[in-house]
């Protein structure tokens, strides 16, 4: 009846645009303040140092979009590094057999939690919290000490750099993370599974009544997150060349924070995978800024991290205030 008012810019991308522009603003600020900050490698390091976080957060994005949460990711990363390290070091297995094995293990772990959540209508928070305890506990059963990986293939992959231009380069882990990100964007927006995740997050009841495969999708979401955690664990193993039960402590919170900062609603159904990338980069750049500053004491570090987070979130709210009510 009434033609919709003309729009120059689709308002639903506003939160994403806000996040991206704030990231750019932060980067500009850093470059202006610290020497050596404005270099390609510093920005590539954001990807290299946060590759595992990107992968974990991508999995987490799907979980949160479906209206759930996965607290087990950090522990699964630790468990993966531990299993990798102990199989390679103590059993002498090769990289080619260990990696598929741990990926399958993480995937199965996620599927198991997803099954409990879906079949017995348990709260995701508590199931994945128990999963977090379990995975971390299993690490200690393997060994309480850390295990260094001396295997040459691992070391070679770990130190391999993909040259980009001049002397800027990217690690294998970062390349994998970018690939995962692209695949996830595709899954989220161009496949039935991805759209079902959004639908369930919007209203699970409606999704059931619309005849969407809710059960499979819910289990699938946690399975995917389990897979992503295991993959992140493999990247982490390359990154650290060691297995350790205390690796990636608190990673789940970083991942959740990255997802939410990236504009995804914790209540589900709203958000973008691409936003998550910028959420991770945001957290990363806050740390880089602080490392470059180098004058903050331990407690001021925490306070400043909190303040930067606050400033970012306030600005983001301000910029997105004019978003549609819905």
């Amino acid at each position: 009846m009434n033609p919709a008012p003309p729009r120059r810019f689709n308002l639903k991308y506003l939160p994403l645009a806000a996040t991206v522009s704030l990231f750019v603003a932060m980067a500009t600020l850093g470059s202006a303040m610290y020497t050596g900050f404005f270099s390609a490698q510093v920005f590539l390091n954001l990807l290299i140092d946060n590759a595992f976080l990107i992968v974990v957060a991508v999995g987490m994005t799907f979980v949160i979009l479906s209206g759930g949460i996965d607290l087990s990711v950090g522990s699964v990363v630790a468990l993966t590094t531990m299993v990798c390290a102990s199989l390679v070091e103590h059993r002498g297995w090769s990289m080619g057999t260990v990696i598929p094995l741990v990926l399958a293990m993480g995937t199965a772990f996620g599927a198991f939690m997803g099954f409990l959540i879906e079949r017995f209508r348990l709260q995701p928070f508590i199931v994945t919290l128990a999963g977090m305890f379990l995975a971390r506990g299993l690490c200690y059963l393997i060994s309480i000490d850390s295990i260094s990986i001396g295997n040459e293939t691992f070391a070679a992959v770990s130190q391999m750099r993909i040259p980009l231009w001049a002397d800027a380069s990217l690690s294998v882990g970062a390349a994998i993370a970018l690939a995962v990100l692209l695949a996830a964007i595709f899954i989220a927006h161009c496949t039935g599974f991805g759209r079902a995740v959004y639908a369930i997050g919007g209203s699970e009841q409606s999704a059931v009544l619309m005849g969407l495969p809710v059960r499979g999708t819910l289990i699938g979401v946690y399975t995917l997150s389990g897979f992503c955690s295991a993959l992140a664990g493999v990247i982490f193993t390359f990154y650290m060349l060691s297995g350790y039960g205390l690796h990636a402590v608190g990673l789940e919170l970083d991942a959740i924070a990255a997802v939410v900062i990236g504009g995804t609603l914790l209540t589900g159904g709203v958000g973008y995978v691409a936003g998550t990338l910028f959420g991770v980069l945001m957290l990363g750049i806050i740390q880089t800024l602080i490392a470059f500053d180098g004058t903050l004491s331990s407690w001021w570090t925490r306070i400043v991290v909190g303040l930067l987070l606050l400033a970012f979130c306030l600005l983001q709210r301000l910029l997105t205030q004019r978003a549609p009510k819905a």
Binding site: S148, M240, Y244, L246, H247, G294, S297, S298, T301, R302
Partner: protein, 294 residues
Amino acid sequence: QKKIVLGFSQVGAESEWRTANTESIKSAAKDAGIELKFSDAQQKQENQIKAIRAFIAQKVDVIAFSPVVASGWDTVLKEAKAAKIPVVLTDRAVDSKDTSLYVTFMGSDFTEEGRKAGRWLVEKMKDTKGDVNIVELQGTVGSAPAIDRKKGFEEVIKADPRFKIIRSQTGDFTRAKGKEVMEAFLKAEGKKINVLYAHNDDMAIGAIQAIEEAGLKPAKDITIISIDAVKGAFEAMIAGKLNVSVECSPLLGPQLMTAVKDIMAGKPVQKRIVTEEGIFPMEVAAKEFPKRKY
């Protein structure tokens, strides 16, 4: 002449000990006229690696850090080596096979601290008869000091079958947990407990409270050994509630600055610089206390 720039990545600020360590390094850098780039890793290895990468990008002159954990440093240390920045390890070692990745390691030996505690106990108990029932308060599960202090202690006491560790549980290096766990030990084992071995002073201080609340006399009914020798431990020893504390010195600052200057001047430095550390039984506590800096 240009000021030397030292990038230092600290583990965190998880204990008094660590705070004293940070303070020592900061003030020593100031005294030595070295510009310090300080970064706190909030107990995460990832963060330390990020900080080291940031130091490399900033082209600092020397990088020093206290590794959160021994393993997993090869990649980033190779990057530092490629950027021709010398690296100094403080407080904890790394288990890299390629020792050319760092110039020197200075700091304490956790295993040796455990051994010292064990030796003191063996000495103290040499005249007593019958079993010696020990309860152990471990540090955070999986952390290097917890593993090594346990290992060193066990190494020494296992020679004598009278020594039995009847309970061992983690107290996460904190007073509150130390007290809570000790409370449970006392209820479960009652008067059987002869000795308490705590991996740090804080847990021992918490446990002392639990022992008192259970109506027992700390240091008399139960012999208490702990590690670190921080101020609180001295107070407890002076009050006659703690038998002994093994020193683990956080005052690495001056040593570190000397090493940094030597490196920059091209002088050779030792691969391993051991800090002098003592052991303080309660008898000497009152005399030593005024000399303590942390």
